[in-house]
Structure formats: structure tokens, C-alpha cells
């Protein structure tokens, strides 16, 4: 019975969604912000303007690749960059969203390091791997990043930061590179490629791609390190949402998210959300799925050098007001394939504000269930009625005998 109730509830939900108002749309602008010296400027500004608010995503590779997520309650807020200050030793205040008082929430996520370790036993146990198994980590702040303005696609609303290690004596990056692909969205829908992430107009997407980077061992596995900021009154936390629905990402039932812990369900809160899977080839076919796992957030407030872009926006004293926490996402599971198979890895995540999107059953699933379960029930009822009628008839035919 509970199941039927649930089904009815879902049907109701679906009909409400259809009958509801038009999907929320934003006007999205994607610009490479050029400075005086365009070769190193490499700032990407995504501005998603709504009726009465604006979401700013400011991507940059001054230091490690970093994205600033700023939510402003004015649809007229703008980005202001002071280039001289930005390249000075004290970049504090060089990047501003104005008017400053319209900012309701801001956070940053920096992609700082790529760890590589030798998983000779194929256990994919990153946190338990011995020190000796690790190769020197790639520090993304030391990478040389390509000019983002050349990859800008204003119709598809996407851009790409592509980088190689600045010093590469062993030629691991001879043919390969690490890239962060950014896509913005005007309205909600679902990604075309696996893992078919769901997004809304309040979201954008980042794809982390390692292509043709030569691994340093045959059994190398990789781990991506991110650093995130949150105001001291709150805290970031990681969260797994288990869903029975793997229709869009076959065999993957876990959705992971990095959300802010503040008990305030307003739109003004940033999140990062990803399915627990990466892929080992560019077509992202299921056969090449590489399950990924996230590890506990750990506080790195004291030690971590912050990327210049974060300092430029949050100020020199950012550590006093913000918790700085690091999160590792490791790729691969025990007995799984190694990166070496295709020398390729792609992992996608949705970045956005508000409540993270949640998958729901597709209409097709609901329709099949309704028909499949409904038919026998209907048949049972109709059958009983027909049988009763027929029996009555038969009896009445026999009556005249007496």
C-alpha cells in the first residue's frame, strides 16, 4: 500500500511540476576579463542575471585555479578588477563585486593539487596508502595555464582553462594537459553526457579533465584536492545523498555534495554537487566508469597558501573571518581499472546556489509502473464483475426447470 501511496504522490508532484510556472531563466553573460597585459590576465567572469539578483562566478588562474561564487541581490551588480593591484605583492581588494553591500553570500573553491600514488595492490585505499606510495604531488599553482579567451564559446556558454606543469623534466605533460572546463546555464535541464547531471539556472558546471598526462607508474591513481572557504559563523560539510534512482547514471546510486552548514534555506548559499563517478574516456561510456570517493573535510586554515584570486577578493585577513578547509576526491575503486588504460580522466560537478538539485523518477518509469501495476488490478475487478453477471445469468436460465 505504501508503494501505491508513494506512486500517487509522485504522480501528483509531476503534474504539479508540469502545471507550474515557467522554468526559471537567467540571462547569462560569459566574458574573459582582459587586463592591460592580456597574456596573463586569464580571468573568466560568468554573470547570471535574474529578476532581482545576480550570480557571479569569477574563474581565474592567478595561483591555483579558483572560482569565486558571489550572490548579489542586485541585478545590476558588476565585477571590478584593479589590475595593477592584482599583480602587486598585496592584491587584497583588487577584485570586487559592486555594489559591495548587495553581496549576500560569497565563497570560493580552489583546485589546488593533484596527488598521484602507486596502488600496487589495487585496493584504491587513498587515505590508507603509505607515504612511500605517493609521487610528488602536482601543485596546480605552479602550472602554466592557456589563455581562456581563446576557448571562449559565448553561444554554448563554455570556456576552458588548460594547463601544463611549468617544470616538466620527465616530460609527463609532453602530449597531455590538465583542464577545467566551465559551462554556464540559462535554464534548468540535464547534461547530455554521462553522468547526466541535473542543473538549474542557478548552476554552472565544472569538468576536471586529465588527458594524456603520462602517469608515473603503471598502477597510478589520482586524487584531486580542493580548498574551500566558508564564513566563520558557519561551516562547510560534505554529504551523500543515496538515491534508488540510477536511471541517468547507470549503477551509480550516490550523489555527493559540498554544502554550507548554515541553517538558512535561502537561495544565497553555494554548493558543489557531483555523482560518485568519473569516466576513463572522452565518450564517458558506462563501461569506462571510474567510481570516485570523497574524503573527510579537514581544516587547513593555518597552513595553506591561498590563491591570489581569493586573497584579492576576500582580503589579506581572510583566515581570520573564514574557515579554510580542504577536500580530496579520489578516483578509482578496488579491483578497478587504472588511469593508464586510456590515460584519460574526466570528472564533472555542478556549482551553484540554493538547494542542490535532486533527481526524481522519470515520467517513463512512473508511467510503466502505473500501467504495469494497474492492469492486473483492473483486470481483477472487471473479471469478478463479469463472472458474477455470467453466473447470475446461468442460474436464471436454469430456474424454469421446476
Amino acid at each position: 500500500m505504501w508503494f501505491v501511496r508513494r506512486l500517487l504522490f509522485l504522480l501528483l508532484q509531476v503534474s504539479l511540476c508540469w502545471g507550474g510556472s515557467e522554468p526559471y531563466r537567467r540571462e547569462v553573460h560569459l566574458d574573459a576579463v582582459s587586463g592591460p597585459n592580456s597574456s596573463v590576465s586569464n580571468l573568466l567572469h560568468v554573470r547570471a542575471v535574474g529578476y532581482s539578483d545576480t550570480i557571479h562566478y569569477v574563474w581565474g588562474t592567478l595561483g591555483a585555479p579558483t572560482v569565486l561564487l558571489v550572490y548579489s541581490n542586485s541585478s545590476k551588480s558588476t565585477l571590478n578588477v584593479n589590475w595593477t593591484k592584482l599583480f602587486s605583492p598585496f592584491p587584497s581588494g583588487a577584485v570586487r563585486i559592486e555594489p559591495a553591500e548587495s553581496i549576500l553570500y560569497s565563497t570560493a573553491i580552489a583546485f589546488t593539487k593533484i596527488f598521484e600514488y602507486d596502488d600496487s595492490n589495487n585496493t584504491a585505499n587513498f587515505s590508507g596508502a603509505p607515504e612511500s606510495a605517493f609521487y610528488p604531488a602536482y601543485n596546480l599553482a605552479d602550472f602554466v595555464w592557456g589563455d581562456v579567451s581563446k576557448t571562449l564559446n559565448t553561444t554554448a556558454l563554455s570556456a576552458e582553462f588548460q594547463g601544463v606543469n611549468a617544470s616538466d623534466p620527465a616530460k609527463h605533460f609532453q602530449n597531455g594537459s590538465v583542464s577545467f572546463r566551465v559551462s554556464a546555464y540559462k535554464e534548468g535541464s540535464r547534461d547530455l553526457l554521462p553522468p547526466h547531471l541535473l542543473y538549474t539556472a542557478n548552476c554552472s558546471k565544472v569538468e576536471f579533465v586529465m588527458a594524456e598526462v603520462a602517469p608515473r607508474g603503471k598502477k597510478s591513481r589520482f586524487v584531486l584536492e580542493m580548498v574551500t572557504l566558508e564564513k566563520k559563523n558557519g561551516q562547510k560539510r560534505t554529504d551523500s545523498v543515496w538515491s534508488i534512482d540510477d536511471e541517468y547514471t547507470p549503477t551509480i546510486f550516490e550523489m555527493a555534495q559540498l554544502i554550507s552548514d548554515v541553517q538558512n534555506h535561502s537561495r544565497a548559499q553555494g554548493f558543489l554537487q557531483w555523482k560518485a563517478v568519473a569516466y576513463g574516456d572522452p565518450s564517458s561510456s558506462r563501461a569506462e566508469a571510474v567510481p570516485c570517493r570523497y574524503h573527510q573535510l579537514h581544516n587547513v586554515s593555518e597552513t595553506w597558501p591561498l590563491p591570489d584570486l581569493a586573497v584579492a577578493f576576500f582580503g589579506e585577513d581572510v583566515r581570520e573571518h573564514y574557515n579554510v578547509e580542504a577536500l580530496n576526491v579520489s578516483f578509482g575503486v578496488a579491483d578497478g581499472e587504472f588511469y593508464e588504460k586510456h590515460n584519460y580522466l574526466i570528472w564533472s560537478a555542478v556549482l551553484g546556489f540554493g538547494t542542490p538539485p535532486r533527481d526524481s523518477f522519470s515520467t517513463l518509469v512512473i508511467a510503466i509502473m502505473a500501467v504495469a501495476l494497474g492492469m492486473p488490478a483492473v483486470l481483477l475487478i472487471v473479471g469478478f464483475i463479469t463472472m458474477c453477471i455470467l453466473k447470475k445469468k446461468r442460474y436464471s436460465e436454469y430456474e424454469p426447470i421446476n
Partner: protein, 470 residues
């Protein structure tokens, strides 16, 4: 694969003529009890060998399920292609189910037939393993095809031997034991192949097609063992025939394809129930291991164990349910319960994170119940001389269904995931459920005796007997 036992036992029940004496007993030539074919001790030895006759084929049938991840990784195939391994097993049986009995009766004879089918099973498994060794998936498929030619017919041969040795004696028990033994084969396979694979991987230092090939070759040892049993039992049977002037065992299947046009609506409904039900069981078990590991985060060993629980449960329960259904009658209601319970199990697997032990146990119970209640129903709606055709046809479309759905299931799982696959299985079961409900109405409107209680059925039988005498 599994259902021939029930069918044969029924065939036998339906045709058990007045206790013919098969053995010219009392001719004691001073042999020890173990060597004297007329003595129980000797028959027990034969029974043991008979049980192991089918062990190899049942063990190897589910090799792919036990090693799904390994096969997919080493051979680099997606799930749809992987499921071809099951489909290729089914294809020859779409045809062979009609002729298995005929081949044994008229062409080869039981002894030669058994040996030939065992050889097919053996060769098939060896080709299958060689395919893995050479990293040629098409060769593996060919192996499964050859294996399929032998597998199902070997089950027929095994039953024929059972009838020939135990008719009028411990026959039902023997069928029960054989059924249990086949389940044991499947279970052992599910739980041991992964372990063998990992041992070999650590021995040769790497996992790959070679590891898979060697593991499957080790699996082939069970087939060789079964072949040895076929040879021994062939010898013993010949010896017994000489000593006792024993009659030849017969399958009793007389297949006439023209009978098909006379099949009643009830029979077609029974076929529909059968196909729709079994396609939601066997292909699911074929894909189950990865499902349990992915959705419920279980270790590979535990996933294998859960996957084999259906077989484990049905081993002891089949005889119990057989007894119950015999005692109470009302077959349609039992079938209805079984289908509904399986439906509930699939719904649980699809829509909850409850421990899969629960759902799979329920599935195991309902699966055994269905087997005991469904297959005997055929005998109530078909005249005796058409029984062989009806059963052959039922097996044949079951295999056809299994072959098609195995591929479809693999493709669905690759493109749409497990939830959708489960919904698909649920839809199949609902098809089965509809057929049961229709069968109930059709039967009660035409005044059939499918759903009579056992006591009424007995009364009816006595009445007809009395009428005949008059």
C-alpha cells in the same frame, strides 16, 4: 535450465502404470549388496553417480554470473554483450527441447546419448575457457552455444536414468535429490569461482584474459568429472541390463508439432505465465552480483552469496512445496501467490535500500513455490498423449524468452541503469500476474479443475473411475 526436473517427475506421475516389475528379483548370484543391481545399496551408488552427472553442467551454467565483473573487465565487453553468453546458451535449446527426448529414445539410446551430451558440455566449457585464454569473445560465445546443446539435454538424460532405475521405488525422492544437487552445483559455483579467480590472479601476478581462461578451465574439471560419471553409469546400466534383463529407460516424450493447434487457451496462458516469470528470475540472477555491489555497497563475496540464495533456498524447499501443493490442490492460487511474492521482492529491490537478503530470500521461496505449482498444471489442461509436446513447447518458449530478455536486460542496464531494469522486470512479472488472473477466470468460467482443492480433485477422479467401470 532448471525446470526439467519438475516436468519429468510429473510426466512420470501421469504415466505411472500399474506397478510393472522391472527387475527380475530374487536371482541372487551371490554378489555383494553393493554390486547387485537389484539391491538398495547398489541403487544408492547409482543415485550418487546420477546426482553428479548433472553437477558439472549446473556448475558451469552460472560461471558468467559468478565472474561478471571479471569477464567484463578482462574481455572488455559491456553488459549487453556479456549477457550474450546466456543468450547463446538458450538458442540451441529453443529447438533442442523438442528433440532431446526423441534423440535419447530413438537415435542414441540413453547410454550413448548421455555420454554424447556430456561430451558437448565438456567441449563447450573448454571452448569457452579457451576463448578467454585467447582473448576472443566470439570463441567464448561459441563455447556457450556448444555447452547449451549439451546442457539441457543432459538434464533430460539424467531424468531418464532416474526413471529407469527408480520407477515404482524411490522416484520422487530421487527427483528431489537431483534437483537439490543441481542447486548445490549452482551455489558452489557462485561462491567459489571468484575465489579461484583471485587466487590465480595472485599466482600469475596479474588479472587478465589469461586468468579468466585458467579459472574457467578449472571449472571445466567439474564437467570432466560429470563425463566420467556418464561413462560409469553407462557401464553400470549396461551391466544391470544384462544381469536383470532390465527394460530400456525412456523419456516418454512423443513430440508432435501438429498438436500445437489443439492447445487450449488455458495452456497458452500457462505458457505466458512461465515465460514472463522466468525472464524476471534468471537474467536478473545473471546480472545480480554487480547490482548488489553497486547499490548496497556489498563486498564481492557477500554479493555472490546473496546471488546464490535463490538456489540455496529452493534446494530444500522444492520437495516441501511439492508436497504441500499435492496435498491442498488450488494450483492457480499458489501460482498467484508465488508471482505476487516475486513481484514484491523485485519492488523491494528496486525501491528500497532494505537489505537484499530479505528480497532475495522471498524470491527464492516464491520461485520454488511457482516451480511446484505451475509445471504440474499443464497435465490438467492437456490430454495425456500431448503432454510431451506441451512440455517441449513450454521449455522451448521459455528458452526463447530467456535468450531475448537476457540481451535486452543487458542493454537496458547499460543505457538506463538498474532502476529501469527492475521496472522492466516488474513489468514482466505484472504480465505474468495478468496471465494468472486471466487463467483463474478462464478456468472457473469453463469449469476447469485447475483450481480445485486436492480433495475435490480426488473425488472427481474417483467418480470418473466409477463411471468408466459402469
Amino acid at each position: 535450465m532448471a525446470e526439467y526436473e519438475e516436468q519429468e517427475s510429473l510426466l512420470d506421475g501421469a504415466r505411472d502404470e500399474t506397478g510393472r516389475r522391472l527387475y527380475s528379483a530374487g536371482e541372487n548370484r551371490g554378489m555383494s549388496a553393493l554390486c547387485d543391481p537389484s539391491r538398495l545399496a547398489h541403487r544408492l551408488v547409482v543415485l550418487l553417480i546420477m546426482c553428479f552427472l548433472g553437477f558439472g553442467s549446473y556448475f558451469c551454467y552460472d560461471n558468467p554470473a559468478a565472474l561478471q565483473t571479471q569477464v567484463q573487465q578482462d574481455m572488455k565487453v559491456n553488459t549487453a554483450t556479456f549477457m550474450q553468453l546466456y543468450a547463446w546458451y538458450s538458442w540451441p535449446n529453443v529447438i533442442l527441447c523438442f528433440f532431446g527426448g526423441f534423440l535419447i529414445d530413438r537415435v542414441f539410446g540413453i547410454r550413448l546419448g548421455t555420454i554424447i551430451f556430456s561430451l558437448f558440455v565438456c567441449t563447450g566449457q573448454v571452448i569457452f575457457a579457451t576463448g578467454a585464454l585467447c582473448n576472443a569473445f566470439w570463441l567464448m560465445e561459441a563455447g556457450r552455444f556448444v555447452f547449451g546443446i549439451g546442457g539441457e539435454s543432459l538434464a533430460v538424460a539424467q531424468n531418464t536414468y532416474a526413471v529407469s532405475w527408480f520407477k515404482g521405488k524411490e522416484l520422487n525422492l530421487v527427483f528431489g535429490l537431483q534437483l537439490s544437487m543441481s542447486r548445490v552445483g549452482s551455489t558452489v559455483n557462485m561462491n567459489i569461482m571468484g575465489w579461484i579467480y583471485s587466487r590465480i590472479a595472485s599466482m600469475i601476478g596479474a588479472a587478465g584474459p589469461k586468468t579468466l581462461g585458467i579459472s574457467l578451465m578449472i571449472g571445466a574439471v567439474t564437467c570432466v568429472f560429470s563425463l566420467a560419471c556418464a561413462l560409469i553409469i553407462g557401464y553400470l546400466d549396461k551391466r544391470a541390463e544384462k544381469i536383470l534383463n532390465k527394460e530400456k529407460g525412456k523419456t516418454g516424450d512423443v513430440i508432435k508439432l501438429s498438436d500445437v493447434k489443439d492447445f487450449s487457451l488455458s495452456l497458452w496462458l500457462i505458457f505466458l505465465i512461465c515465460v514472463c516469470y522466468y525472464v524476471a528470475i534468471f537474467p536478473f540472477i545473471g546480472l545480480g552480483k554487480v547490482f548488489f555491489m553497486g547499490k548496497f555497497q556489498l563486498s564481492s563475496e557477500e554479493a555472490s552469496a546473496i546471488n546464490s540464495i535463490v538456489y540455496i533456498i529452493s534446494a530444500p524447499l522444492s520437495p516441501v512445496f511439492g508436497f504441500l501443493v499435492d496435498k491442498f490442490g488450488k494450483n492457480v492460487i499458489w501460482v498467484l501467490c508465488a508471482v505476487a511474492a516475486t513481484l514484491a521482492a523485485h519492488v523491494m529491490l528496486a525501491y528500497t535500500f532494505w537489505t537484499p537478503w530479505l528480497a532475495m530470500s522471498l524470491m527464492g521461496i516464491s520461485y520454488s513455490l511457482l516451480a511446484c505449482a505451475l509445471w504440474p498444471m499443464v497435465a490438467f489442461v492437456v490430454p495425456e498423449h500431448q503432454l510431451g509436446t506441451a512440455y517441449g513447447f513450454m521449455q522451448s518458449i521459455q528458452n526463447l524468452g530467456l535468450g531475448i530478455i537476457a540481451i535486452a536486460a543487458g542493454a537496458i542496464m547499460d543505457s538506463r541503469g538498474y532502476l529501469f531494469l527492475e521496472v522492466f522486470f516488474i513489468a514482466c512479472l505484472c504480465g505474468s500476474l495478468i496471465a494468472v488472473v486471466m487463467l483463474y477466470f478462464v478456468d472457473s468460467m469453463t469449469g476447469g479443475d485447475l483450481n480445485l482443492s486436492a480433495t475435490k480433485r480426488n473425488k472427481l477422479q474417483r467418480l470418473t473411475a466409477i463411471e468408466k467401470e459402469i
